[in-house]
Symmetry: C2
Subunit: 293 residues, 2 copies
């Protein structure tokens, strides 16, 4: 029964940069499927309609999810629990519910507690986005060649995972599967920690000094321009991994500080070269996988 | 006598990414001036010739700087003292000597001590470059629209500053002047600190986790791919400002850690929003100044 070829209606809740990019990519990938978007904001619904980001922009949550074979949450993570409760009674039996949130342990927990037993939850995290926000920045190729991490627990329905995988694959993503615990650990270190660091660097700088900044500062701090509300939710729902990450980073900063303070040229060079070589290997890996051009 | 219109010969010592970009841009800006490059490496001299990066690639330092109206050092900062000593006896009286180094206090000190009294030293720091290295990545537009900071002390010859300003302006740079002390303080915070942070983030990450990285990690860590030897010299020659910068950053990281650890949503949001708004103002400033496109 759960077959991506039988897909008739997909609903995306939240028409920001990522949500609207999903509907746009889905319209291209599934031209015969009804792709519906919803936003709780009147102004966003209007913009989403004007920009043709979905086949239909629903006025109510009920209208949005009713009869959908797949519902995708694309709002800030902390709103998911409320949405699960609100949509629970409208969902079709056998519907696959997923999301595009950046943390996964809490989402699985909320889904288990609040969604009806006859719908299937699978976690999704497409590794795509930008520091920009809003439906006006959505693009139908934002997800092309992106990784998409699916999360499943031992209780997750295997057919629903396959179905969700089929959906993201059709949108151009390279799909991989992790447990929610493993996912939050990895992304705490390699996504949430760089985010915190970018914000800390900006907060540590004088504005008058920043005017002299070159491309290095601009790139290093880019993600600090991301929406604060979206990221507050991410940090709140992955606090343990993030504080661990900050502690790891602080140790590395102390190592470099010590070498610089004592003007230990050999040790500075060793620490910088270690980072350079490691990042070089990463870039080659990403180029090989065509995740970088 | 010191007039940029009277320029006949310019010599750049060091034909890496930045040095060769300077000779290429100078050939375009001053088609009637002899632009000479030098590298102590035979292989670099050969590549620099093959790629037509200068009118002439000299075989010896003496040949390179003899009769030059302007000599520009574009090698790692710690080599400057040695080069000043080696070129001192070959320099024409009235020659302007400058550099493209990222730290300035030490360079002024070495110039004062090692250059003859009848040549003029002015510090230069074009805010351009990339994480790449080598003459093969040089581009004649690398300096276009870049800031170039000139550094001068009360003893620096004003005519020589004007001359140097004329040179970089002709290459498309927006020139500003600072004291070496002020320069090193500002760039310690907004260039050398982000560099250290990028290296620390890479060193703090497991390679297996890094494979899952998205664009945020890639951008935040970009400068960690820069040549370790060049950056070792920068960190060695600006250690006090850098350790101060690390301490400032550590305070901001502790503030964020505390808010995340206690799940204080309001405080997390406030810290992230402060960074977001500050960086947004910076981006608008840079767009206005046409330093970003």
């Amino acid at each position: 029964m759960l077959n991506i070829k039988g897909l008739n209606k997909v609903c995306v809740i939240g028409m920001g940069l990522l949500g609207a990019s999903v509907t746009m990519a889905a319209m291209r990938a599934f031209p015969k499927v009804l792709i519906v978007g919803f936003s709780h904001r009147d102004s966003t619904r209007k913009k989403a309609r004007r920009l043709n980001t979905a086949n239909h922009i629903a006025e109510t949550l009920e209208e949005a999810v009713r009869d959908a074979d797949m519902v995708i949450l694309a709002t800030p993570v902390m709103t998911f629990k409320g949405y699960f409760r609100q949509i629970a009674s409208f969902l079709k039996s056998g519907c696959v519910v997923t999301d595009v949130g950046s943390t996964k342990v809490c989402v699985h927990k909320w889904a288990k507690k609040n969604l009806p037993k006859d719908v299937y939850f699978v976690g999704s995290h497409p590794i795509a986005g930008s520091e920009k926000r809003g439906v006006e920045y959505a693009r139908d190729d934002l997800l092309a060649a992106a990784r998409c991490i699916l999360t499943q627990t031992p209780k997750t329905n295997k057919q629903a995972v396959k179905f969700t995988k089929g959906f993201w694959t059709a949108l151009g993503c390279r799909v991989e599967t992790l447990t929610p615990v493993k996912h939050d650990k990895i992304y705490g270190f390699i996504s949430h920690l760089p985010h915190i660091t970018a914000a800390a660097i900006v907060n540590a700088s004088n504005f008058e000094d920043m005017k002299f900044a070159g491309k290095g500062f601009i790139d290093t701090s880019r993600v600090a321009s991301s929406p604060a509300d979206v990221w507050t939710d991410i940090l709140l729902t992955n606090s343990r991994n993030i504080t661990r990450g900050i502690d790891r980073l602080a140790r590395q900063l102390r190592a470099l500080r010590g070498a610089v303070h004592t003007k230990n040229a050999r040790r500075i060079a060793w620490l910088l070269e270690k980072a350079r070589a490691k990042r070089q290997t990463l870039i080659e890996y990403k180029l090989n996988k065509r995740e970088l051009m």
